[in-house]
Symmetry: C2
Subunit: 108 residues, 2 copies
């Protein structure tokens, strides 16, 4: 496997109902991760790009969280419908999707 | 949480005994991750650096795998005793630990 041009990390952390931190799990991160998996497969992105599920990335209350390296861009509140834009703009055109970025107070 | 100067990703993937890909789990990645956690705590590294557990990072047969961004340096066969060097050399001095790097054929 070559070193990828971009590496997408998707939080898949779950916590018990009522946990004070909440979690990306309760906010639908599994659907986001699965959408990325399907898009990577259908667009044949493996090799140029990598995709990894993770534990907690930090901003649980604003999840689902998606983090893209090497730029270190944190996205907040990502929905399955946002995945195509993240792939087409950030991964393929190297243009981070500003409307989805986490606030600077969270990751700045 | 500020954007970290370095972000350490530690594979904690397990697979059933006998699975053809093996896993970092069977090679002791939990001890590696826990050692990182303890070192982050005792050296007060939170804030400057981030640490995240992950699913599969790819080179399962050479695990435990540790990946550090933004450089995108993949380390292979990491043992708990290697964690101090990774912190002191790569995180604090910005000098990747060459002896622990995954072969270029794996991540190059």
């Amino acid at each position: 496997m070559p070193k990828p041009a971009k590496h997408v990390f998707v939080c898949v952390q779950s916590r018990p109902p009522g946990h004070p931190r909440g979690s990306c799990g309760e906010k639908g991160c599994a659907d986001v991760y699965n959408t990325f998996l399907n898009e990577f497969q259908s667009r044949n992105l493996w090799g140029r790009f990598s995709l990894t599920n993770t534990g907690c990335l930090g901003p649980c209350n604003l999840g689902p969280s998606v983090l893209v390296y090497p730029e270190g861009v944190m996205y907040a509140g990502v929905k399955p419908a946002d995945v195509a834009a993240l792939i087409e703009e950030h991964l393929l055109l190297n243009q981070p999707v500003e409307r989805l970025r986490a606030p600077a107070a969270v990751w700045g």
